[in-house]
């Protein structure tokens, strides 16, 4: 049982082929080329390196966000097309969870931050307990500066992961004493982690429908947007005034 895994949720383009016990091949890069140019040639390459024919794949795992809108759609389109054409199951894996899966360290809070633009991040945190990855706080959108300050108030060691850490935190913000950024090679998403999570999901019989699997886009709720409209003095307006 070999599966293909794809992560294009950030500026990192990562593809991997893996079976239950082994990572057979992986290609991970963060360069200037866009995913639309690199993804398909890279998929061809990792299959070749792993000596796996695409017809022999038994599933596809896709990192489905949150993350870059364009990146997610490119990855998902490729994953869906292959799943459909090869008649193999597709499973979506949380990009945030896959990040935490890269660092199996008990006793620390893993804080995963993916860039949501305008100084915000999608943030979700995890802990490893009894060799299992446990969700500590579910995903929300928050100001990056608030997230970092919040980490400083936690009564535990915190490790920061994700592209927002690379882009907006390292070298740009002072970190509280109990908080540190993960090393660069562990900080960004990798398809290997998506593959391992995907294999477990598929083995448990969890699959997603190729026709309706969507990227996870987390937006501010209608209520928040409306509240800000009604209280412009308390919130920086995010919409032009000529609307409505």
């Amino acid at each position: 049982m070999s599966i293909l895994a794809i992560d294009t949720a950030t500026q990192v383009s990562s593809v991997a082929v893996a079976d239950e016990g082994r990572l057979l091949s992986e290609l991970t890069m963060q360069g200037k080329l866009t995913h639309s140019e690199t993804l398909l040639p890279h998929i061809e390459q990792v299959l070749k390196m792993a000596a796996v024919n695409k017809e022999d794949l038994t599933g596809i795992a896709i990192s489905n966000g949150p993350g870059s809108f364009t990146g997610l759609r490119i990855g998902l389109a490729a994953a869906k097309a292959m799943s459909y054409a090869l008649h193999i199951p597709l499973v979506g894996v949380s990009t945030l969870k896959a990040l935490a899966y890269q660092l199996p360290v008990p006793g620390v809070r893993l804080m995963c931050l993916l860039d949501a633009q305008k100084g915000n991040a999608y943030v979700e945190s995890y802990r490893w307990q009894d060799s299992l990855l446990q969700l500590a706080e579910a995903v929300k959108v928050a100001k990056i500066s608030d997230i970092v300050a919040g980490c400083g108030k936690l009564n535990e060691q915190v490790i920061l992961l994700g592209d927002a850490v690379q882009k907006k935190i390292v070298g740009k913000m002072e970190l509280p004493e109990n908080v540190q950024a993960a090393m660069p090679h562990l900080m960004m998403p990798r398809a290997a982690a998506v593959a391992m999570l995907g294999l477990r999901e598929l083995a448990a019989g969890h699959t997603d429908n190729v026709m309706d699997l969507e990227p996870v886009y987390i937006r501010r709720s209608e209520a928040e947007v409306l509240w800000e409209k009604r209280h412009p003095e308390e919130a920086k307006p995010t919409k032009p005034t000529e609307e409505m």
Binding site: F69, Q117, K167, R219, P237, K239, P240
Partner: protein, 160 residues
């Protein structure tokens, strides 16, 4: 801020050429002006100066064009968008925050709150209904391009 006057499309095009010779990678340029003011002409001339060989037209319906020149040029047209959420849908902020290459935005005034902190504003005004005369104002919004706008002013006025 500085102002240039042009009296023909050729002169407006030439001005854009000068901007193209000076502009730096990582710059966002917001282009304001009514229909027919010469925004598209400005972008065409700018893109050509930056080594773009193919056609350059405003992406009114496809929302964003990407051109390959000496660097990549991302050309947005926000005219058709109605809500700020649609900017998320097209990945607008992924291109305009810490931009790679050069980003040109037409109709930026539709979403003033969504523009990046630093950009160069180019405002083209028609002087009279059927006139070819244009007043073109250049200004720097934010800190980053202050120095550049002074350099540009010297360059367009003195040629060096």
């Amino acid at each position: 801020m500085f102002t240039c006057m042009t009296s023909s499309p050729e002169e407006t095009g030439h001005l854009a050429e000068l901007v193209g010779q000076k502009i730096r990678e990582g710059t966002v340029l917001c282009l304001e002006g009514d229909l027919g003011a010469g925004k598209t002409l400005f972008v065409q001339s700018l893109a050509k100066t930056l080594g773009v060989e193919g056609d350059v037209t405003s992406p009114t319906f496809n929302l964003m064009n990407v051109y390959e020149g000496i660097c990549r040029i991302y050309h947005f047209d926000l005219y058709r968008l109605e809500t700020e959420e649609e900017l998320d849908d097209i990945g607008f902020y992924e291109y305009t925050e810490e931009p790679e290459g050069i980003v040109v935005i037409e109709w930026p005034d539709k979403f003033p709150e969504s523009l990046p902190d630093d950009y160069i504003e180019v405002r083209i005004r028609k002087l009279g209904e059927d006139s070819d005369e244009r007043q073109i104002d250049f200004s720097s919004i934010g800190e980053k391009n202050q120095e550049f706008i002074k350099e540009l002013e010297d360059f367009v006025h003195t040629g060096h």
